[in-house]
Amino acid sequence: MLINVISWIEERLPVQSIKTFFIKKNVPRHRHSIWYYFGGMTLLFFVVQIVTGILLTFYYTPTPEKAHESVMYIVNEVPYGWLIRSLHAWSANLMIGAMFIHMFSAFLMVAYRKPRELLWVSGALLMFVVLGFGFTGYLLPWDTMAYFATLIGTEVPATMPVIGDWGVSLLKGSEEVGAETLTRMYSIHTVVLPLVSLLLVSFHLGLNQLYGASVPVGTETPRKPIPFFPNFLYRDLLSWTLGLGILIALATILPSGLGEKADPLASAPLGIKPEWYFLPLYQSLRMAPAEVFSLSGDFIVNLLVAIGCSVWLAIPFLDRKASAGRKSLPFMVLGIVLILYLITTILLAYVLP
């Protein structure tokens, strides 16, 4: 009976060619192989985000009157609600962490060179999508921190000429952070970004299956490569087991808290800081002088960030040496300086009052 069903399907689906497609893929072995695990790790936490996120939408209400109460209800009344919410919050942080490691390791191993340019571009776009997830999700609990962090975050485009005010109103949906902002953020967080990210992730993974992992320039691969299926998949499973262990430990030992319900008329509390992955932007805005050559410091920082993001997206097309299979010093230096800048600003934002 089961055999019949399987052969019926095999007659109508190109199962065999799909199988050979997956079995053909090999994972090279060399001294930098460890970095190959972080893409899969990012994927694991992405899946956790989808599952826990869908569960949370079953109880969450995206209105200023009910949002805080509904999160309170999830945390206090729903069986294991606190666990699902903590998993969602911690998995978000771990996903972004794994994504950054994956991205910078790909950069330093020059994995973006031909024929993997589109893998890099889709990955860089995914980074913006993931940061968008973080920003839009932060407001949803509607507590004081979330409210003021979003208030500040939505004001960031205001310094841009011409489109600035329009950009702010587009994010807020009204003049104030209120009901319209909350439904906008909710819609982006639960509909727009998930659809976009599913498309991008499928594209990213499909290309990865096609081309396999890239071997860094100048790295010797004396040993036999590992077949992806099943040998490397077992290794991925082991790393996912470890990742899930870390996630559950964080979620149970340090469950997510919830502040007081946001009061738009209250004055901003002391020490509002965004999530750690926005700290480089936050710290750069804080360190910028008020005015440089009659241009506002905020404007200059935003401009630099915009240029930086565009450059980052276009890296495979700018690094001419990479396509010829050679490492180029300026780009290595750029990558290392960027990593050091991000780490320094994050640390500074924590240390400085």
């Binding site: 569960l55 079953f58 009344e77 729903v78 069986p79 294991y80 609600g81 666990l83 699902i84």
Partner: protein
């Protein structure tokens, strides 16, 4: 894949596959049970409403009715052409739509717009798919208010 070798003994590979599948299945049980408990709505902690007071019942003119909130559910209070007050749970016993009072020229009755069930003013199902009468409520006049309470209450 063969799980047993020629002597009918389990191979190492077969055993490991079996153990892994078994362990994964067993591990899925607590995960699924957590998910099911998360999704199952918890019973409301608010006590069930047993009676409500209507101070403005004078607004319901003769030969008309008003739907009021009885706890979380709708109830219909009828001022009959004969001048009596009657009350029922307003949900049709067929599929739960709220019934409507129809008086005036015709014989006064309660009509469900969804599938055409008709109840008389005693709540009895006289036509349509409704399987049983409307749940009756007790009506008392207490001072200035009309008190509506569950019929079972003494």
């Amino acid at each position: 894949m063969r799980k047993e070798n020629k002597q009918g003994r389990i191979t190492r590979r077969g055993l490991l596959t079996g153990l892994l599948t078994g362990w994964a299945t067993v591990s899925a049980i607590p995960v699924v049970s957590v998910l099911l408990r998360f999704l199952t709505p918890t019973a409301s902690s608010a006590p069930a409403v047993e009676s409500i007071e209507l101070p403005d019942y004078g607004d319901i003119v003769k030969d008309s009715a008003k739907v009021v909130r009885f706890g979380k559910q709708p109830a219909i209070v009828i001022h009959t052409p004969a001048g009596q007050y009657k009350a029922f749970m307003a949900r049709c016993t067929h599929l739960g739509c709220v019934v409507k009072y129809e008086g005036g020229e015709e014989v006064p009755r309660l009509h469900c717009n969804c599938h055409g069930s008709i109840f008389d003013l005693n709540g009895k199902n006289i036509s349509g798919p409704a399987p049983r009468p409307l749940d009756p409520l007790r009506v008392n006049i207490k001072g200035e208010s009309l008190v509506i309470s569950t019929a079972t209450r003494a």
